[in-house]
Amino acid sequence: MVRVIVVGGGWAGASAALAAARAGAEVVLLEKTDQLLGAGLVGGIFRNNGRFTAAEEAIALGGGEPFFIMDSAARHKDISFPGHRHASLYDVTRVEPLMRTLLQEAGVEVLLQTRVTGVRVKEGLVSGVISEEGYLFTGQAFVDCTGTSGPMGNCLRYGHGCVMCIQRCPAFGPRVSLVDRVGVKEMAAEKREGFYGAMSGSGELSRESLDPAVLEHLDQDGIYEVSLPPRLVKGNKLAAKACQQYALPDYAEKLILLDTGHVKVMTPFLPLEELRTLPGFERARYIDPYAGTRGNSVRFTAIAPRDNSLLVRGTANLFCAGEKAGVFVGHTEAVVTGLLAGHNAVRWALGLKLLELPRETAIGDFIAHFNDELERGEALKKSYTFSGSVYFARMQAMGLYTTDREAIARRIAALGLTGILSQRLN
């Protein structure tokens, strides 16, 4: 039996572990914190705009389970908010236990509070990863899903310091990139000359701290909008945002809240004393990041060079997914790259040809397009998501965007790829 080690338990790592288990591998998933899903614990938005197409493609490819989990934990389905249509919002307080259970049922060994800090390379192959405590985990193929946010030094240099985000680096230690440890040079998104990374685009408020009238709105519609007084409109904040799909004037002029179990604020950060001047928010408190008054986590400082099968260039058996695989924003993007990386790790271990998804699929085009843009020297100045900004525009122009489930299933079937991610390979 082949053994695959996945490092990092966010949506990318959890999906990679699941795909590798479904393909027949023995899988160990190592996560540095006390919970899975990483930034997915402060997320919740899926199926909006082109993410609907990507989710349905993943389902048709046989990798639908993470999306079924999100669907089953959804608090709101098919809602719209500025610039976004047919969005679903999953409940961040329900989705993690569901995903953890699914992984355990699939036979994945999930080890929490296990931070990988070292790697062993033997004859050009990664042969094991070493945890902080000195445990060695051996395997045939490895998937680096350690993300690109933190360590704290990056938040200090390119953000406003550690704001106590969900990563909780001071307590659990910073992520350590496997790609970096094997000596492959990583890339960083560059917002302007010499200024790297991008700030997370949203935070969360505690429900209990908001006025019942606001909550009633949120419960009913999933969304609540308040116009900001002119002194609070800071259009320039949008430029630094990682989530360019929300870098629209609406999000600068209004406070937009979404109901994701907690209350998601669609602004990178907002000083609490200013927020509290709005009616209904007099008692508001941040729960993520804890210092949401000051800033947010800085990400995209450690992107791996990789091919379109998600194999890290310069390595033989190290794959990557999620933010590690590109300036990719969002859980849907993490899940679809995770599925492919996990599946390909098993293919590699079994000596099979690696799977590249064709450009007739949104997922395949998304992964390949980023590499094309890298070659053109543009990729690191933008961010990519199925849900908006430059890539959603491309999806529409290429005719890849559709919400017709049957058309998507037919598209995958015509390519002969139906169910490929759910097939056992050994």
């Binding site: 070493i130 910073p174 450690a302």
Partner: protein, 333 residues
């Protein structure tokens, strides 16, 4: 085979002495940003060094380790070695409770270059015991130190593999100590015993010609065996003990040759115990500046061993030079 450890860190990171001069010269062992890289790629789980630097570039303890202290006790071991008890500040004694701690010491009247690094043997509240072997002028002038001496401290990197040593609880530990290195062995032994570990110590008189920690270790609850000088420098006895026991941690206190031998034994016996060794580098300034402590680690890079805490396996080339594998790593299958 190449091992890339992410576990090395600066022993002073996050302490009162951090950031130090190396932060300003762009050579911080912990922080890649302070080393001039564009992004942070540290693995240090603790207070961010870069943040410390931004908030307080001059750390309060950076250039302030000096104390004038009273010599409050003296015991002769033999004609070659002696013990000193020094009355120091409570704060300093608290810092020196960490295993691997040492201080620089010199007579008050001697010039600056008489400062010599001496391992802490035992700590009381407000006092420490040091064992000194007379190997040259600096240690000779301390034999009759007068009523007061100058002490600089705390310095922390006397042992390699500190993380393993500090985190072991309710385990089995073996101390292999020779000569003057018995002093730091007693310090670590005491630390391990306090944490519920079983401690076995094999002691050799070494060049000092005396075993001087046996009674104290027994008092504290360790199992102690005294051994004689042998042509193989104790290799056979060490191997027999490691083979017979099931140790979670093996600590070697002695010359480099002994560290290499123990690394070899652990590997040949396929023992996955954590490995701790004394840092035998020449320590002159203790601040990462003078360069006397630079040592090439197995992976080829040079490290400042007065600051840089790294895996004893990397330092002793286990897995590389000896053709060994994963000493101290526990295989998860």
């Amino acid at each position: 085979m190449t091992l890339f450890y992410g576990n090395d860190y600066c022993v002073d990171a996050g302490t009162n002495q951090c950031p130090c001069h190396l932060a300003e010269t762009g050579e911080c062992p912990s922080c890649s940003i302070l080393r001039g890289e564009e992004v942070c790629r540290c693995g240090w789980a603790g207070e961010c060094v870069y943040q410390r630097y931004l908030l307080r570039p001059l750390s309060p303890g950076r250039d302030n380790r000096l104390q004038l202290v009273r010599v409050s006790g003296y015991e002769n071991i033999n004609e070659r070695a002696y013990l000193l008890r020094l009355t120091i500040s409570d704060e300093l004694s608290h810092e020196l409770r960490r295993p691997g701690s040492y201080v620089f010491i010199k007579p008050v009247s001697a010039p600056e270059f008489f400062f010599t690094p001496i391992s802490v043997m035992e700590v009381e509240n407000g006092a420490i015991w040091l064992a000194v072997e007379m190997v040259g002028p600096k240690t000779r002038v301390l034999r009759y130190p007068g009523r007061e001496v100058l002490v600089k401290g705390p310095y922390r990197n006397g042992l390699m593999g500190l993380r393993a040593a500090e985190s072991l609880t309710y385990g089995q530990a073996l101390l292999l100590a020779k000569g003057i290195a018995q002093a730091p062995a007693l310090h670590l032994g005491q630390y391990l015993l306090r944490r519920g570990n079983d401690v076995t110590a094999l002691l050799w008189p070494g060049t000092v010609g005396a075993v001087f920690i046996a009674n104290r270790l027994r008092e504290l609850g360790a199992a102690v065996r005294l051994l004689e000088k042998s042509p193989d420098h104790g290799a056979r006895e060490m191997a027999a003990e490691i083979a017979a026991g099931s140790y979670d941690l093996v600590a070697s206190f002695g010359p480099d040759r002994q560290h290499q031998t123990v690394a070899d034994i652990l590997s040949r016996l396929d023992r996955r115990a954590a490995y701790v060794t004394t840092n035998n580098a020449v320590l002159t300034c203790g601040e990462g500046i003078c360069g006397s402590c630079l040592v090439p680690a197995a992976s080829g890079r040079k490290v400042r061993t007065c600051k840089h805490q790294l895996d004893a396996r990397e330092l002793w080339g286990a897995g590389e030079r000896l053709g060994l594998s994963e000493i101290g790593l526990q295989l998860r299958d």
